[in-house]
C-alpha cells in the first residue's frame, strides 16, 4: 500500500523532478518567452501537457489491464466452477455469457468500448455490475481511509515539524522512535491486538468498541447513526493511522532539517522574529512541498482501500472487495478495482504536478 519508508523521500523528489522534466516542452517557452505572457498561460500549457500525459497513461492502463488479466494462467470458468457440479454444456454457456468464446481482438474492442462507457463488466460471484459494486464500497472506504489519511498527515506533519525543530532532542528521538516502531508493526497483528484489547476488553480495560464492520443490526437512525458509524470507525482508523503516519513524519522532518540550515532562516532569525514565527512563516511552508506529492499520491491510493485493516475489521470497503475478489477468484472485480485504482493514482499525480507548479515558483523557472 505504501512505498518502503527509506525510499519515500527519494521517491518524492524523483517524482517531482521527473514530472518537471516531462513538462519541459510546455514549460520551456513560458519560462524562456517574454515576461508578459505571464505564469497564467504557462500554467495552462503546463496543465494541458500534463493532462495529455495523464490521458495517455489511462489509455495504457486500459490496454495493460486487459492483457494482464488474460495472462493469468487457467480458464476462469474452471476456476469459477471449482467444487461445483457442472456439465460441459453449462461451462459452454458460462463461457458464452462471459464473452470468452469470441476471438481475443473482438474481446479487446468490446472491453475498450465498455470501459469508455464506464462499464467494468459483471462480477461472477455477485452477478452484478462491477461498477455498481465499486460505487457501493467507495463510501465506506473514503470514510475510513480518508479519515485515516487526514489524521495521519496532520499527526505526521505536526510531529515531523516538532522533531526537526528539536532536532536530536528527546522529543525528536521519542516521536521518531515511536512512529518507526509502529511503522514496522504488521498491520494485521496490530489490528487484531487492538481488537482484542479495546473491542473485547482485557482485565480492567472494558470492551468499549464493536468487533466488526461499519454498523450493527438495529443501528439508530438520523444523527445518532453518524455516531454509531463513528464508534465503529475508531479502531480501524487508529490501526491505519498508527501504521502509516511515520512516513509523513520522516519526510517532513528531513525536509524541514534541510530548510533549517538555509540562509533565509538565519535571516529571519536575525530580523528578530520569534522562533515559532520563523518556523511557521518561513521554514515550514518551504518544507511542506515534498509532502504535497506524497499526500496526493496517497489520496490516489485511497480508493485501493486498506486491504488488511478492512479485512481485520470486516469494514465493507474496496480493500475488502479486492481481497474477496482474489480469494474468489473474481476476475472482473479484480480487473475493475485495479483499473479504478490506476486511474485514481494518475489523476492525483497529475493534480499534484499542477499544484506543485502553482505552489513552488522554482518549478516554474526550472
Amino acid at each position: 500500500m505504501t512505498a518502503p519508508l527509506g525510499a519515500a523521500p527519494g521517491g518524492v523528489h524523483g517524482g517531482v523532478h521527473g514530472g518537471v522534466q516531462d513538462g519541459g516542452p510546455a514549460a520551456g517557452p513560458a519560462a524562456g518567452g517574454p515576461e508578459r505572457t505571464g505564469a497564467g498561460r504557462g500554467l495552462l500549457r503546463y496543465a494541458l501537457a500534463k493532462l495529455g500525459g495523464a490521458l495517455l497513461s489511462v489509455a495504457m492502463v486500459v490496454v495493460a489491464t486487459f492483457f494482464l488479466f488474460r495472462l493469468i494462467p487457467g480458464d476462469p470458468t474452471v476456476a469459477y466452477t471449482r467444487d461445483v457440479p457442472v456439465s460441459p454444456e453449462q461451462l459452454a454457456l458460462l463461457r458464452r455469457q462471459m464473452g470468452l468464446d469470441r476471438p481475443l481482438p473482438e474481446q479487446f474492442l468490446d472491453f475498450v468500448a465498455r470501459a469508455l462507457r464506464g462499464d467494468l463488466g459483471t462480477s461472477y460471484e455477485y452477478r452484478r455490475p462491477v461498477a455498481e459494486l465499486i460505487a457501493e464500497r467507495l463510501g465506506p472506504t473514503l470514510l475510513l481511509v480518508g479519515t485515516g489519511l487526514a489524521v495521519a498527515v496532520t499527526l505526521g506533519l505536526w510531529q515531523g515539524t516538532r522533531a526537526a525543530w528539536n532536532h536530536g532532542g528527546r522529543l525528536d528521538r521519542f516521536s521518531t522512535g515511536v512512529s518507526l516502531t509502529l511503522w514496522s508493526v504488521p498491520t494485521f497483528w496490530l489490528g487484531l491486538l487492538l481488537l482484542m484489547v479495546f473491542a473485547a476488553g482485557v482485565g480492567p480495560i472494558p470492551g468499549f468498541f464493536p468487533t466488526r464492520g461499519m454498523e450493527d443490526v438495529d443501528a439508530p437512525d438520523g444523527p445518532l447513526y453518524a455516531l454509531h458509524v463513528a464508534h465503529h470507525l475508531v479502531l480501524p482508523c487508529l490501526t491505519l493511522v498508527a501504521v502509516v503516519y511515520a512516513q509523513y513524519l520522516v519526510v517532513m522532518r528531513s525536509s524541514l532539517l534541510e530548510e533549517i540550515g538555509q540562509d533565509y532562516v538565519t535571516t529571519a532569525r536575525a530580523k528578530g522574529l520569534r522562533d515559532a514565527q520563523v518556523r511557521r512563516r518561513h521554514a515550514v511552508p518551504n518544507a511542506l512541498l515534498p509532502t504535497v506529492t506524497l499526500v496526493f499520491l496517497h489520496i490516489g491510493l485511497v480508493v485501493q482501500g486498506a486491504v488488511t485493516t478492512e479485512t481485520v475489521y470486516s469494514w465493507p470497503g474496496l480493500g475488502l472487495l479486492f481481497y474477496e475478489a482474489i480469494k474468489g477468484p473474481d476476475f472482473a472485480v479484480m480487473q475493475g478495482t485495479f483499473m479504478v485504482l490506476c486511474v485514481a493514482v494518475i489523476v492525483m499525480n497529475t493534480l499534484a504536478d499542477v499544484l506543485y507548479h502553482v505552489l513552488d515558483p522554482r518549478v516554474r523557472s526550472a
Binding site: 494462467p73 474452471v78 473485547a200 480495560i205 443490526v217 464508534h231 520569534r274
Partner: protein
C-alpha cells in the same frame, strides 16, 4: 490566546466524540423487551439474495430457512422426508413423479400451490440465467406441470433416484413472475415473501441479514423471534465477537479458530462428524472424454498395484492427528464420510488397506519395480525412475505438512516425491482439465444424497477434446463403475440403491484413483448463556450450520437470560470507558497546554 482557545475547543470536541458513541451504543442496542434474538457469525458475505443465483453456503443456508423445498432430509435418518410435498409416488417406469403439495400459505397470505413449484422449476429449465445456482438439478427433466393446485407432475428423461433431494427452493410465482431479467435481479425487497420458518426482513450488504420468525409457518412459528446473520471477514475477529457476546454462534470453523476458543467456560464447542472427505488424486493415465490421452502423469500410476502400494504406505491415523490436530477421523472408507451412516462404506477385513510399508514394498518388488542404489525404484522396463510430483495449493500450511509426511512415507517404499505448490486457479486447471499432475490433494463436501460426488468420477466428466474440463475429480474411467452409477440412478428401492452406492465406494477404494485420507470434523461454537438448546442434523451428533435443512435453526431455543444482558454489561463498560477516555484526553490536553506555556516562555527573548 486564540490558538489556546482553538486547542481547548478541539479538546472538547475530542471528548464529545469519545463520549457520545458510548452513549448511543447504550441506547441503540437495547432490544425491545422480551425479543428473543440469536446472532450467527458467518465468515462469508452474501453473494446474492436471489435463490436462482446464490451459490455461497451462507446465502443458500438463509434460503433454506426462508423457503420450502419439495422434500427435506429427515432430522434423524437424513432420508428424504416431506416438506412442501406431503407425499409422492413414482410411475412404474420410474420416469413420472407425482407430488402432493401441502395446503399452506406464503408469508403474505397468498395460498401456496403446485403452480409455484411448477413455475420455479420451469424457470430454471427455460431461462439460462436462472440455471446459475441449480441448473444441473433439472437437467434430466422432460417436463414439469401442475395438474391442479395440489398436484405437481415431473417427467424425467431417464430415471432419477436423487429426485427426492432437489436442492431447489420453491419461490412464490406471484412475486417472481414480475421479474424481467432474472440474472440482474437482486431480490432485495423486504420483508421477503417466504414459506419457511424465517422471513428475511432486512439486508445491509456486507454487514448482516436480519430474519424474523414466520408466524404462519406450517409447522408453527420457531421459538426464536429474530435470527441475525452477521458478517465477519476475519475468523479471529469473529472469535473475539463470540467471546464478547456480539454474536452467539459461529458455524463452519477451521481448526485454529476452533482451538483458540478452548477453555472458555461460556462457550460450547461443537465437534462432530463432518460432511467432507479429503483425498489424494492419483493420475490413473488421464484421457479426455473421447479417450485421447492427455497430461503428463507418471506411467507407473497407471498400474493399479502401484496405486495400492501407495495406499499401504500412508498412515492415515498420523495424518488426522498431526495435520488436522486430531479434529478429523482417519478414513477407513472412501469418499463418503461416516456422517452419512446409511451410505457410508467401511473397509473391513481383507478389503481394508492398512498402513503397512513392508506390504507396499512387497507389492512393488513383485510387480517388478526394482530399487536402485539410491533407494528409488525404476519402471519394470528400467526406463523411468519413480520420481513423482505432489501438487498442493500455495498458502496452505496443512497441505505443506501433509506433503512432508507423504514424502517421507513414499521414500520408504522407493518413490521420490517432490512438492509442487500451485495457486488455486492453476491447481484446478492442472488437476481437473490438463492432467499435469502425478498425485494431488483434493476434497469434496458430500450432500445427504451422494450422487454428485460419484458423478465426479465418471468417464463423461473428463475434459472434452478441446481441453474443457467437465468436473472430473480423478480422470477415472471404469466400465463397472459406470454401470453401477447408472444402476443406482434408476434404482428407486432405497435399500437396493444403498447397496449399489456402497459397491461404488468399494470399487474406488480398491482401484485407488483416489485415496481418502481423513474426514475433517464439523467445528462450531456457541454461547451457553444465549443458546439454551439447538438440535443438529442428523439429531445424533450432527451439524448445526451448513446442513441441507432448516432443522437446527427451527429447533433453536434462546436461553432464559434476557436479550439485554450483553447491553447491560456494555453500559457499565461504557461508563468506565468514558471515564478512562476522558482521563486520558484531559491528561494529554493538560500536558499540551503546559508545554505550550513553557514553549511560549522560551520563545520570548
Amino acid at each position: 490566546m486564540t490558538r489556546l482557545g482553538a486547542r481547548l475547543a478541539a479538546l472538547g470536541l475530542a471528548l464529545a466524540m469519545a463520549a457520545l458513541p458510548a452513549a448511543q451504543a447504550q441506547a441503540a442496542r437495547e432490544p425491545e423487551a422480551g425479543r428473543r434474538i440469536v446472532r450467527l457469525g458467518a465468515t462469508q458475505a452474501i453473494d446474492s439474495m436471489n435463490p436462482f443465483l446464490a451459490v455461497r453456503v451462507v446465502s443458500t443456508q438463509i434460503h433454506r430457512w426462508m423457503y420450502g423445498y419439495l422434500t427435506v432430509p429427515d432430522s434423524k435418518t437424513l432420508r428424504p422426508a416431506p416438506d412442501l410435498a406431503e407425499s409422492w409416488e413414482t410411475s412404474d417406469d420410474g420416469l413420472t413423479w407425482t407430488f402432493k403439495i401441502r395446503d399452506t400459505r406464503w408469508s403474505d397470505g397468498t395460498p401456496l400451490t403446485a403452480r409455484d413449484a411448477a413455475w420455479t422449476l420451469n424457470k430454471i429449465m427455460t431461462d439460462d440465467a436462472a440455471k446459475t445456482a441449480n441448473g444441473p438439478a433439472v437437467e434430466n427433466f422432460e417436463s414439469v406441470a401442475a395438474a391442479d393446485d395440489r398436484t405437481l407432475v415431473i417427467r424425467t428423461k431417464k430415471p432419477q433416484a436423487s429426485m427426492l433431494e432437489l436442492p431447489v427452493p420453491i419461490l412464490p410465482r406471484h412475486v417472481w413472475e414480475k421479474v424481467g431479467d432474472i440474472g440482474a435481479h437482486e431480490a432485495e425487497q423486504y420483508p421477503a415473501v417466504a414459506s419457511g420458518p424465517y422471513i428475511a426482513v432486512e439486508h445491509v450488504k456486507n454487514a448482516y441479514v436480519k430474519l424474523k420468525a414466520n408466524p404462519s409457518y406450517w409447522r408453527g412459528a420457531p421459538a426464536v423471534d429474530e435470527l441475525h446473520v452477521v458478517f465477519y471477514e476475519n475468523p479471529e475477529a469473529a472469535n473475539v465477537g463470540l467471546r464478547k457476546g456480539d454474536i452467539d454462534w459461529i458455524g463452519r470453523m477451521d481448526g485454529a479458530q476452533f482451538e483458540a476458543l478452548a477453555g472458555d467456560p461460556a462457550i460450547v464447542r461443537w465437534n462432530t462428524s463432518g460432511r467432507r472427505a479429503v483425498y489424494l488424486q492419483l493420475n490413473p493415465g488421464a484421457a479426455t472424454a473421447g479417450g485421447e490421452p492427455i497430461g503428463d502423469g507418471h506411467p507407473a500410476l497407471k498400474d493399479v498395484r502401484v496405486r495400492r502400494a501407495i495406499h499401504h504406505a500412508i498412515d492415515k491415523k498420523t495424518l488426522a492427528e498431526q495435520v488436522q490436530n486430531g479434529l478429523a477421523v482417519p478414513a477407513d472408507g472412501s469418499i463418503v464420510p461416516p456422517m452419512y451412516k446409511e451410505f457410508f462404506w467401511r473397509a473391513e477385513g481383507d478389503a481394508a488397506v492398512s498402513y503397512d510399508p513392508a506390504e507396499a514394498n512387497r507389492i512393488l518388488d513383485e510387480a517388478g519395480y526394482r530399487k536402485g542404489a539410491d533407494g528409488v525404484r525404476t519402471m519394470p522396463d528400467g526406463k523411468r525412475r519413480l520420481e513423482m510430483r505432489f501438487s498442493i495449493h500455495t498458502d496452505a500450511p496443512a497441505e505443506d505438512k501433509l506433503a512432508q509426511f507423504l514424502t517421507g512415507w513414499l521414500k520408504e517404499i522407493g518413490i521420490a516425491l517432490t512438492t509442487r505448490r500451485l495457486d488455486s486457479n492453476k491447481f484446478t486447471e492442472e488437476t481437473g482439465s490438463t492432467a499435469l499432475y502425478d498425485i494431488a490433494i483434493s476434497g469434496w463436501s458430500v450432500n445427504p444424497d451422494p450422487e454428485e460426488v460419484f458423478a465426479t468420477h465418471l468417464c463423461s466428466r473428463r475434459p472434452t477434446a478441446s481441453g474443457e474440463g467437465g468436473g472430473t475429480e480423478s480422470f477415472y474411467c471404469d466400465e463397472e463403475f459406470e454401470k453401477l452409477y447408472q444402476e443406482q440412478l434408476s434404482e428407486l428401492d432405497r435399500a437396493e440403491r444403498v447397496e449399489i452406492v456402497k459397491r461404488m465406494q468399494e470399487k474406488l477404494y480398491t482401484d485407488a484413483p483416489v485415496i481418502a485420507l481423513y474426514y475433517p470434523n464439523n467445528l462450531e461454537a456457541y454461547r451457553k448463556d444465549r443458546i439454551a438448546s439447538i438440535t443438529p442434523i442428523p439429531e445424533d451428533r450432527g451439524i448445526l450450520y451448513g446442513g441441507s435443512s432448516y432443522w437446527p435453526v427451527y429447533t433453536l431455543r434462546a436461553a432464559a437470560a434476557p436479550a439485554g444482558a450483553g447491553s447491560g454489561g456494555m453500559s457499565t463498560a461504557a461508563v468506565a470507558g468514558i471515564a478512562a477516555g476522558a482521563a486520558v484526553l484531559l491528561g494529554a490536553g493538560g500536558f499540551l497546554l503546559a508545554r505550550r506555556r513553557r514553549a511560549t516562555a522560551d520563545e520570548r527573548e
